[in-house]
Every structure is written in structure tokens, then in C-alpha cells.
Amino acid sequence: MIDVLISAAVLASMYGLIAIGISFTWASIGMLNLAQGFIFTAGGYTAWLFAQYAETLGMEGPALSVGVLVFGMGGSALAGLLVGAVAFLPLQDRANFRTRSLIATLAISLMGTQLWLVLFGSQNKPLPPIFGEGRFEIANAGISSQQLGTIIVASFMLAAVIMWMRSSRHGLQMRAMMMNPLGAAVVGVSVRTTGMRVLAISGALTGLSSVLLAQVFFVSPTSGTQPLVIGLIISLAGGLGSIPGTVAAAGLIGLAEAMTARYLQQSLVPFVLFGIVVLILIFRPRGLGGLLEDVRE
């Protein structure tokens, strides 16, 4: 049972990072970012390139780990800005922005996969283990240092971003823009500048989850598809734009996936996850966030 909980927590923390990015982007600029998978792989490949280069320099240990994390997040943040420059800035105040940006980000996602295929080939690229290869015993269950590291780093980053959103001026602007774009413009918040900032931050979080997931699954041209789908599921179930809702949904989906894989069958995981989302949306059309952030319009 403990090992199921551990793998649930690992999955939840990785998926939560992506889902928060999708959720923020949707709530603040009204763009459902289907290029999140492209952004995900961009971080993985950037980290891989760094690791290749660092190897020739003989770099290892904590310096290499930190470098891989930083380059993964940086690469994805840049990819996020690129998506913004192509799909957000030119379309932002045109008619049907939501549909147009959806199509634009889908196009970026499809082209991105081909781009990685051309640049890096179809072979899986491994990243160096950033948390070492140790194992610990907790309550009769083993937890690897990779699992422990993933949970700690992901929770720390999530907590840092949430704290920043709650306390800083820029965070207040972002939350204001999510609630009322007109009100935000009236107090001097530029949708364009803040939107690009949101895309960079969402990108960095996605890049982190890319590096963390690559510890298990390698980097490949299509490795962003699965995280994108799960990220969409979680952000929908959590209620787009709600931070506590998304965190709760990430926990729920992580637990469901871990339990299904353990007690039923790995191949049933997508059925169970989509089933949960359908049920949540039937009974809580606004997602779990509607439970937690009760707002009267």
C-alpha cells in the first residue's frame, strides 16, 4: 500500500507541474496551450544537450544535476516564449482568439514533433540520474532517491510558485488578470506582457517535470504527448485557473493511476483517468476548484 502511495505522489507531483502551467495559461490569457507537449520535449532536449556537453567537460555530481534541472527549465521557458510569440501576441486582440490560438498551438505541437525527429532522430535520449541511485526504507516499503527527489523538488517548486503568486505584485497581477481582464487593464496590467510572463513560468514548470519524468522514461520526439493529455485531464478536473483545485486533481489522478496500474492493469489507466474526469465534470462542471474557491459571480 505504501509503495502505491509513493508512486502516486511521484506521478502527482510531475503531472501537477504540467497541469498548473496549462491551467494558468488558460485562466490568464484564455489560451488552451496544446503546444505544452512541445514545450515539454524542448526542455528535455535542452537538458540532454547540456548533459552531453557537460560530459565532455567531465562535470558530474550535484553540479551536473543542477545544470540539467536549470537547462531543462530554461529550455522549456524559452519554448513557452516562442509559442507566445507565434500563437499569442499576433492573435491576442483579434476575433475568435480562443479558437485561433487552439489551432495555432496544435500546429506548433505537430510541427514540433517533426522538428525533434529531424534534429535528434527517433532514438530515446537518456538523461543522467540527477538524484543519484540510492534507496531508502520507509515503513517496510522502498523508496528510491529518484522518487524522493522528484517529490521534494516538484513540491518545492510548486510551493514556491504558489507563494509567489499569493504575495508578490506580479503574482497579484496574474491572479487579477485571471479573474477580470478588463479590471486588470484598468489598473495598468498589460495582458500582453503578463501573458508572456505566464507562458515563461508555465514553460519552466513544464521543463522541470520533463527533466523529472525523463529520469524514468527518456526523452523522445513524442514524449510530450502523454504528459500533455494527462495535464489537460488534471487541469479540467481541477477547474481551470484554480490552484488548489489543480493540486487536488493532480493528487487524485496520480493516486488513480498508481492504484489502477498496481491492482488492475497498466493498459486500463487511460480508461480510468478519463472516466474520473467525465464523472467530475458531470457532477461539478466547474471542476474540483468550484468546491474550494466558492465565488459568486
Partner: protein, 240 residues
Amino acid sequence: MRILELQGVSAGYGPVRVLHDLDLSVNAGERVGLVGLNGHGKTTLLNTIVGLTGWQDGSIIFKGEQIGGRRTHGVGRTTPHIVRKGIALAPQGDAIFPGLSVRENLDSGAYSGATWRSRKRRREKVLEVFPPLAKLQRQSAGTLSGGERRMVSVGRALMADAWLYLVDEPSLGLAPKISVNLVAALCEIDLGDGAMIIAEQNVPLLEGRVDRVLGMHAGELKLDAGESLGDIPPSAGVHL
């Protein structure tokens, strides 16, 4: 000193033209009431100043700087840029942030770096103007009553370090007693070298409280009266 000078300003939405070649100037220290019936362009005039209309044309000079000009698309794209120069708008319909607390809503009005650092002092001043908000600071703004929301919206505008305050229909939808208090509070604020334009349908609310009254009719300024409202001609289209 001139705070605001509009010359030949037209504005509208799509094919609809709401403002027709309008001229207006507001001096430092002046509190101007903008009266007129619904649908005659009061809100559009205020929105034009901050670039929130569908399209606009004509010169708008704010403290010697041109903030107008011709714009045919991009509703609100220039708005953040303009308000940061020192214009604060309390828009019609409030546009408050329902999921944020009252305090966060007020703080969001103190946008620029320097203003942000002095937000605590500013917030205390706003709470002096609107004492009922003091107890509600931690409450989510979405749960407030209509009058409280209006106070938050106007209070947020007052948080800014602005030279020009634009208040759109402060009494709209409020109980008479509450709206009297709100407008009275607005008219007691010390403007210093700044200025304020209050658009208001309920003309008697402004009686004796503003320095000048402008009447709007069919997208044009028809009347420029002093603070006495008694001698407004019926032709001005302003019904008392």
C-alpha cells in the same frame, strides 16, 4: 494648469459612432460632473480617454502628452500604458476581482513600483474614505453586496497615484442612501493638483458638490454650467 484636453474626439464601436467631434478641457484641482441620459456617451467618453473603445480618433492631451490619436482596433491594448501615466478609472460594472480579497483588490490598484511600496498608507487613506471596507478586508470580493463592491471598485481607483480620476456612474444600481454617501465621500477627497470626472445620471446627487457640470446629449457636450444646476436649459437634453 490643464490636466486634460480633448480636441475633435470621435469614438465608437464597430459601425456605431458614439462620440461626435467632441472638445473638452479639465483644469488642475477641478471636479467635473458629467451628466446626461443613458446611452448618450458618458461611459464612452471616459473609456475613450483610456483607450477602451472599439475605435477612436482625435487629440487627447494629458498633462502635455498626447495619449489619443487614431486607433481602429486593439481594444484596451494601450489602456495599461495610458493608466500608468496617472489616470485611474472606476469603470461601469465595477470590474473587481471576485476571487481576490478586498485588500488584494485595493492593492491591485497600486500598480506601479513606487505606488506599490506605499500601498499600506494608501490603503489606510482609502479605508478612511470608505470605512465599511475596513472590516471586510480579508473577505473575498465576490461575496460583497452591490454597495460594497462599488466601494471596492472606486477605492481601487483611489489607490493609484493618479492625476486624473474617472468615476463612471458611482450611484448606478445602489440604494439611494448608499449612493448619496458614496458620491459625498468622492466629492470630499482632496484632489490637490489632480482632477476628477464623475459621470452620473442622477444629477441632484452632484448638486453643489462639483466645480462644473457638463451635459452630454447624443455624443456631444451640450452644456457647460457652473456648480449651480438651476439654470440648465431644457434644450440641453439633461433632465433633472
